[in-house]
Symmetry: none
Subunit: 214 residues, 2 copies
DNA sequence: TCCAACACCCTACTCCAGTAGGGTTCCGTG
DNA sequence: CACGGAACCCTACTGGAGTAGGGTGTTGGA
């Protein structure tokens, strides 16, 4: 291939990074999409001579490293399109990444469809900052909501239960799978609902649509 | 023609049936691929003297007719390879179709690539029962293929109700939105569940995860 | 004209989800 | 040691989901 489109994806959750990379490969026509999960790896994977067409950067890297990374990236590889992603919709985040010079911003929760359109827009040379328009029907997004169970403020057990809830399993089956009583499962479910600000399991499933635990 | 490979495809959603038939013609080297959408049509199209090489049978035919059809087919045309397809990944379905004597089983959501490989395996005389693995690498990508209500065999009203169900709305709100009684909504929901072969709305949501209506 | 399908409404029932309020162990921290 | 938190179990209750079985009115095809 003379002109394969390539991408670099950095997210501190490796599964998240590789999920996005896979999506770029399978649905956005990328020939190369390398997932990395820390900053060192990122710079190591970057070839300054032949920079990637796109870099996808999670905003919530440890120590707030993403802003510095984005600015440096803009200097070193101005030809590379920069797409920032984040798990929350704080308006301040949007301003910060804009200042850092990114070309687009997206929520992690956005549908694959929109993600694909944002990528296409960036490759065309357009920008993508439609993040603010979301805001309908997501009352539990005021805090950071990363992909892993522990970072949702859930205990390990609650994480296991949540994973099965998202598969659509009823309490009785979750109980059997974990060798618990149905009542105990209900307690965990109640804890999850309270934590996530949902009224019932259906709200949990629809709001976390397209995500996976751990 | 002396030796064209022929197939019969039965699915109660005509669009689905003809889509599969087209694929067999264009990608699997079939000379004939006849789509039918009900059991009567199926037997009418079947030529016992010169049986097709392959029969593709949707598991969720109305009234659960598929099991009987599969068994009868196995008796009458033992030379015809039988491929069962289903929209859900219930393990019980897999057991049932195996008991009925099919040669292969697949999810409808499977990629065309895998579908093609399954067909090739069957024509070679091999079996294909990889349903359990359910392709781990695509939670982010999956399918944003919009599905129309008609494609699922639903009435217009059921389509509207389903759209709201997928958003996580409870019956009462759907009723208010459509200016109906809650009871009527329940009727539509029951119809949807029967049509899609689901036990409750949670199964519907998890099975159609990531898809859009119309 | 009759019948089937669809949309609509109702009561009454069962079953599951989720809450409330009681309790027990175990473990880590002040 | 005493306390809090997590995990575990229980009964008893409310409310929504879904089924069963009754009904009406409209439409379109045999």
């Amino acid at each position: 291939m003379t002109n394969t489109t390539s991408a670099l994806v950095i997210d501190d959750h490796p599964l998240s990074a590789s999920g996005i990379a896979d999506f770029l490969l399978s649905h956005c026509g990328f020939g190369v999409a390398l997932p990395v999960s820390d900053v060192g790896e990122f710079w190591a994977a970057l070839d300054p001579v032949n920079p990637p067409s796109l870099a996808v950067v999670d905003f919530w890297l440890p120590d707030g490293a993403s802003l510095g990374l984005l600015e440096l990236m803009k200097q070193r590889c101005p030809a590379t399109r920069l797409l920032a992603i984040s798990a929350d919709d704080n308006a301040a985040v949007l301003d910060k990444v804009r200042m850092a010079g990114v070309d687009g911003f997206l929520h992690k929760q956005e549908t694959p469809d929109i993600f694909g359109r944002a990528v296409a827009a960036l490759l065309q040379g357009d920008n993508w900052f439609h993040g603010g328009t979301q805001s309908a029907g997501r009352e539990f997004a005021n805090k950071e909501l990363p992909v892993t169970a522990a970072e949702l403020g859930l205990t390990a057990r609650q994480g296991q239960v949540l994973a099965m809830m998202l598969k659509g399993l009823p309490n009785k089956r979750i109980a059997l799978n974990l060798s618990l009583s149905e009542q105990t499962v209900k307690e965990h479910v109640s804890g999850i609902l309270e934590r996530l600000g949902a009224r019932n399991r259906i709200e949990v499933i629809t709001k976390l649509r397209g995500r996976r635990l751990e």
